[in-house]
Symmetry: C2
Subunit: 347 residues, 2 copies
């Protein structure tokens, strides 16, 4: 899922996302709450209409940004007080408020408000954080169920038929805490399940271990979503394990810094060696950028700080990522195997 | 003609320019000479191929940038010495060198090297400047004729059949100097003629007066080009007088600053009044931006410093400008009238 932090996948027009085959994008609740404001977006008919994206939208709970962008936050059982990074104003997010904001935005998929446990975290810290996440999950879901009808869709057929709420498995890097959390969330009967608190600095084997531990506990007939990953080989690996959804700023953010993902590996388009390289960014890629532009031109745009640089680099990286997922889907359809078999093959 | 300073019309992909109906874009010789360098572009087959623009390209002579970006320039009869705004390195441009660079870039239309007379300029200053421009026009044309075959097109059918060279009428705001320059340039038999040194701070009536004075002296069967103009009503006015070509950074630069040109006048998309305005930027416009996005969304992108803002604003402004020229062409085809008649109607 391409990330559209402030209601735009940075530098890429919506019709281009459509032609890339993007089926769903993310919006960041924290950013949209601060600007232009969820009430304004609700008055305008919701985020789909505001940004002209008549396809699926997922909003995060705002928790991750509150925790990562705010050094002065104050966490209580009730919620989190934080200051806006835009103007320093004080705000208070509770699970109920996060859900209210997400419903006002009109997301197709709302995420439960959680605390993303930092890495490394001691066992007692991870336990305490998990206690909060589980209490907040309960409150998020209860509030969601009582208020989901307030979604501002004028035409429900424009996107999903009904908005959904996903729970988020936390538990740090402790397998038993992850298990405990997954089991409790499944009891609550969310519409889908995310595995959060990964890709926060831990070694990649640990990421895989946590996913492999948690995934089998989550119902196969509901979406399973790993948050905030990852590199191309990671998303392929996790998808083959049975992960249905992933999001990451990596393809878009890296693109803006000149890092292209290709079938030949990573390519830093700023390198002098590409100054007169007339081959496409990825000779094996058929995206609109690789069909038309050369490495030399992309390098020139980057060297010249031209806006088109971010646009073209991002289009290619998204095409590459979406292509991976398409190939995984195709191969799973051709020869389905269970997550358990895939796990066995991995180990 | 949209301006593509550094080999890109800022923030707009080439396929979008094509779908907007742009037939020709500008490249800036000064910028491309400094980065990535005309030799590199020649080695890669020319600017068309480098930027993937298989349509017409016009390059300026570099003179305007040398004069406007360089406070330390030194002008002699031979040429201009200046320092790069990128790294301070010293460079020397002569009419011959400017033409060599433009031929290396592979422009379809090269411009003679000229001095853009500043405004205001005393009569003696304008005379002296014109003397230089006319001597440089001769040298530019001679050098062009001797070297035009060196153009790096591998496939001449990809763009124009032969590259051309336009002369530039200067003369400050002195009607007789403009006349004198036009007559001398026409004697030299350029492929087309530009009127330069306008829109440099003079009142608009004076711009019109200089165009009206000069235009009838330039052959009707060759392109007549007014450089560096202008606002939507200006380009319509000049086109109806018989001007065939114009270029200006205004639609693209203004767009990046949030100024949209519409059928209802200028619209500053940053204004708070548009915060929840769900109407399209220009209700009378059918461009891809007006068909899909609202003023509220464009304002949000601008307020959030999102790259998509520049892209969408620019696409609309270019669509608006190209639409004006299309309407003028259509109406001239429907009911042609001479430039003299149009002038009479203006006065």
């Amino acid at each position: 899922m391409p990330v559209g932090t402030q209601g735009t996948v940075k530098a890429v027009p919506q019709d281009t996302l459509e032609s890339l085959g993007a089926q769903i994008i993310l919006g960041n609740t924290y950013h949209l709450y601060l600007r232009p404001g969820h009430d304004a977006i609700r008055r305008m008919g919701g985020l789909h209409k505001f940004i002209s994206w008549p396809h699926a939208l997922l909003t995060d709970s705002g928790g991750f940004q509150v925790f990562s962008l705010n050094e002065l936050r104050k966490v209580t059982d009730d919620g989190v007080r934080f200051r806006s990074h835009l103007d320093g104003s004080s705000h208070f997010f509770t699970p109920e408020h996060s859900i209210d904001v997400q419903i006002a935005l009109g997301a197709d998929i709302c995420m439960a408000f959680d605390e993303c446990t930092e890495y490394p975290a001691s066992r007692s810290r991870a336990e305490e954080s998990l206690r909060l996440t589980m209490a907040w999950a309960r409150r998020s879901l209860d509030h969601f169920r009582a208020h989901r009808h307030l979604v501002p869709w004028s035409d429900p057929k424009a996107c999903c038929m009904q908005c959904q709420c996903f729970g988020i498995v936390q538990g740090g890097m402790y397998r038993d805490l992850r298990r405990q959390c997954a089991e409790r969330l499944v009891e609550m009967d969310f519409d889908g399940y995310a595995i959060g608190g990964l890709s926060v600095g831990e070694p990649r084997e640990l990421t895989l271990e946590m996913i492999a531990e948690t995934l089998p506990l989550l119902p196969k007939d509901k979406p399973r979503y790993v948050m905030g990953v990852g590199y191309p080989d990671e998303i392929e690996q996790y998808a083959r394990l049975g992960v249905d959804m992933m999001d990451c700023v990596l393809p878009t953010r890296a693109a803006r810094h000149g890092l292209l993902f290709t079938s030949e590996g990573r390519l830093n388009i700023k390198n002098k060696q590409y100054a007169e390289d007339q081959s496409p960014p990825d000779p094996a890629c058929g995206c609109m950028v690789c069909r038309r532009y050369s490495r030399a031109y992309l390098r020139h745009l980057m060297q010249s700080s031209e806006a088109l640089s971010g646009t073209l680099n991002t289009i290619h990286n998204l095409a590459f990522y979406l292509g991976i997922m398409r190939r995984v889907r195709d191969s799973l359809e051709a020869a389905p195997r269970s997550a358990a078999e895939a796990l066995k093959a991995e180990s």
